[in-house]
């Protein structure tokens, strides 16, 4: 198993290199000079040249890419064109905010999505099922920015219970977490429900009933664990998306997270920052996928034996 984990971690390296190249190419080969964007339209040619020299924007594309990658290997991600700060420091400063947001939203997603999906499947075609399906449809259909603004209007302006934007205390995270979680809750309800319904139809569930087990016992002992495989995948993917792309939510609530950093950097063609953020997201997704696979092996002995067979 340890070897499997090591292999998977090592497999991340070519992925990250590939992604870094693609993003570097896109950022450099598309029109628009960072210096012109940052210094403004009235900057003189000599100002632009000084800027380029200071930021190391020299030589052809390959030279620049290799220079950049050399820096990355020694832990130097360069300095931001926009703020002149160290990129790594800037990124690290943004991570806690995104991490809290994503973890909070994931917790809401799991705590609501899975139980509602389970109940919905067990009581298929009941009022509970129909209302949870309606809720799921509603949550997927409502755009995040609109929901965020509505929540802000209600809880911040009308009731004055929670702060509207920025980060003052943990209270500031409540509305963003709900906003971010909404659409993911909906997808998790649906996947849990359909996965449960799929398993309930299996022969071994009938076997369990034939043993004299009660419905409650059959569901708890036989259906749930089997139904969790696709659910774990979706939870993992959703969490990865939240870590890398909560751009709308972070923008609406003006949170200093990774998403807002990425969007401002892309706008200003702040290439070193964009590169660092994208590689960070790639690594996070890779690690989450690995954790999902490990969870699979924990749940399903068939998958576990496959992993250990590879070890031999």
């Amino acid at each position: 198993m340890a070897k499997f984990v090591l292999k998977r971690v090592l497999a991340l390296i070519p992925v990250v290199i590939g992604i870094s190249f693609i993003i570097f190419a896109i950022m450099n080969l598309t029109p628009g000079e960072p210096a012109r964007l940052i210094l403004g339209p009235y900057a003189s040619q000599s100002d632009v040249e000084t800027f380029n020299q200071a930021m190391g924007i020299e030589g052809n594309f390959w030279e620049r890419y290799l220079n950049y990658m050399k820096g990355v290997l020694t832990g130097d991600f360069g300095i931001s064109y926009r703020t002149q700060n160290d990129v790594l420091a800037e990124l690290v400063a943004r991570i806690p905010c995104t991490l809290i947001l994503a973890t909070g939203a994931a917790a809401i997603m799991v705590l609501i999505g899975i139980p509602v999906g389970i109940i919905s499947a067990i009581k298929q075609y009941s009022i509970l099922d129909y209302s949870s399906m309606f809720m799921a449809l509603l949550f997927t259909s409502v755009p995040g920015f609109w929901l965020g603004i509505m929540l802000m209007l209600l809880f911040s302006l009308q009731l004055e219970w929670l702060p509207a934007t920025g980060v003052e205390s943990w209270l500031s995270y409540i509305l963003p977490c709900i906003t971010l979680a909404a659409a993911f809750v909906a997808s998790l309800i649906r996947i849990t429900r359909s996965s449960m319904l799929e398993i309930i139809r299996q022969d071994y569930i009938r076997t369990a009933y034939a043993k004299g087990a009660s419905e409650k016992r059959v569901v708890m002992k036989h259906v749930l664990r089997n139904a969790m495989l696709p659910v774990v995948t979706v939870v993992g993917i959703n969490f990865a998306i939240m870590m890398g792309g909560a751009i709308v939510t972070e923008s609406v609530f003006a949170l200093p997270g990774v998403g807002t950093l990425l969007i401002t950097s892309v706008r200003m063609k702040d290439i070193p920052v964009v590169m660092a953020v994208v590689m960070f997201v790639a690594v996070v997704i890779g690690i989450i996928n690995l954790l999902v696979d490990l969870a699979y092996a924990y749940i399903d002995p068939r998958i576990k034996s496959k992993y250990s067979a590879r070890k031999r």
């Binding site: 076997t207 036989h222 068939r302």
Partner: protein, 328 residues
């Protein structure tokens, strides 16, 4: 002395949804005595498995229901038992072996725990250690090494899985074991092993068995009595000798035997029964077999045949009723 374990009287089962009603079982009578093996034979769709599910109380909820008749197990009327009462019977007094061993076991639970679950449910007085011992004994009983109980279903072959399913069904030494095509999914050598084992276990434990199959070879090897089902009815019932060596037969039974290749005669072609089983949503009038019967008369189309009985050999066919009328 009454050694009847199961008696089914005039059982009707139907499946209903918004669009249609399927009449799966239409008035069958069946008795099973202690230590007896009764074969339930018929084509796919004859209502064999539905009968088994009705006895187990495992008809699909909301769709399937017993519309008439009664099933009495020992002294309990299953048709009026509550779900909680049924739970106490299932796996304990009656248990069932399903058709496909590949999918009958939970892939995520060790086989030992799956066998142990039956004991956990019905032998609450046993502590963990006793349970483990019993699981070991059950695995040995079906010819599997006890130390493999910590393995998962995917680590066993099909025949072994079926043995595990059988061990599970026998855990509480049930009075009645319903085996729904236990050998259909297995290859021939394993089939023989599993059948031998079931016959041996019957002798050892005195369990009565209802063996559902469409394989007459299996019936000849294992059964004491045979019921031939067609379109939700038992059209012929008798001892193994009555069915295999008797002189009088329902034309459907004759047809079934005609569909098996014979070793003695050198026939060029098999004689299949022409046509298909009638649509269970829209059953024909009179004898349900009349459309496919080579000896059907006008009477068969309109009148439901009466029971003809000769020393326990029961046939529902107009051919024999006329004979009896003549004889009387």
């Amino acid at each position: 002395m009454d050694d009847r374990i199961l008696s089914i009287k005039n059982l009707h089962v139907k499946y209903e949804n918004d669009e249609m009603t399927v009449y799966a079982v239409n008035g069958i009578d069946l008795e099973v005595r202690r230590g007896e093996t009764v074969g339930l034979v018929g084509e796919t769709g004859a209502g064999k498995t539905t009968t088994a599910f009705a006895v187990m109380g495992l008809l699909p909820k909301k769709i399937g229901s017993i519309s008439e008749g009664e099933i009495i197990l020992g002294d309990i009327d299953i048709t009026h038992a509550t779900e909680a009462d049924m739970r106490l019977l299932r796996g304990n007094k009656i248990s069932m072996i399903f058709q496909d061993p590949m999918t009958s076991l939970n892939p995520l639970i060790t086989v030992g725990d799956q066998i142990g679950e039956v004991l956990e449910l019905h032998r609450k007085e046993m502590d963990k250690e006793e349970r483990e011992k019993r699981v070991d004994a059950l695995l040995e009983l079906v010819g599997l090494p006890a130390e493999r109980k910590t393995e998962y279903p995917h680590q066993f072959s099909g025949g072994m899985k079926q043995r595990i399913v059988i061990a599970m069904a026998l855990a509480c030494e049930p009075e009645l074991l319903i085996a729904d095509e236990p050998t259909t999914a297995l290859d021939v050598t394993i089939q023989a092993q599993v059948l031998d084992m079931m016959t041996g276990l019957k002798a050892k434990l005195g369990t009565a068995i209802i063996l559902i199959t469409h394989d007459l070879g299996v019936v000849a090897e294992t059964c004491d009595k045979v019921a031939i089902m067609y379109a939700g009815e038992i059209i012929e019932f008798g001892s193994l000798e009555d069915i295999f060596a008797g002189e009088k037969h329902h034309p459907y039974t004759v047809g079934l035997f005609g569909s098996i290749p014979s070793m003695e005669e050198n026939v060029q072609r098999l004689k299949p029964i022409n046509g298909l089983m009638p649509d269970p949503c829209n059953l024909p009038s009179g004898c349900k077999f009349h459309a496919r019967c080579p000896r059907a008369t006008e009477k068969c189309r309109t009148c439901i045949p009466e029971k003809f009985e000769e020393q326990g050999h029961i046939i529902y066919c107009h051919l024999f009723n006329e004979n009896t009328e003549k004889e009387v």
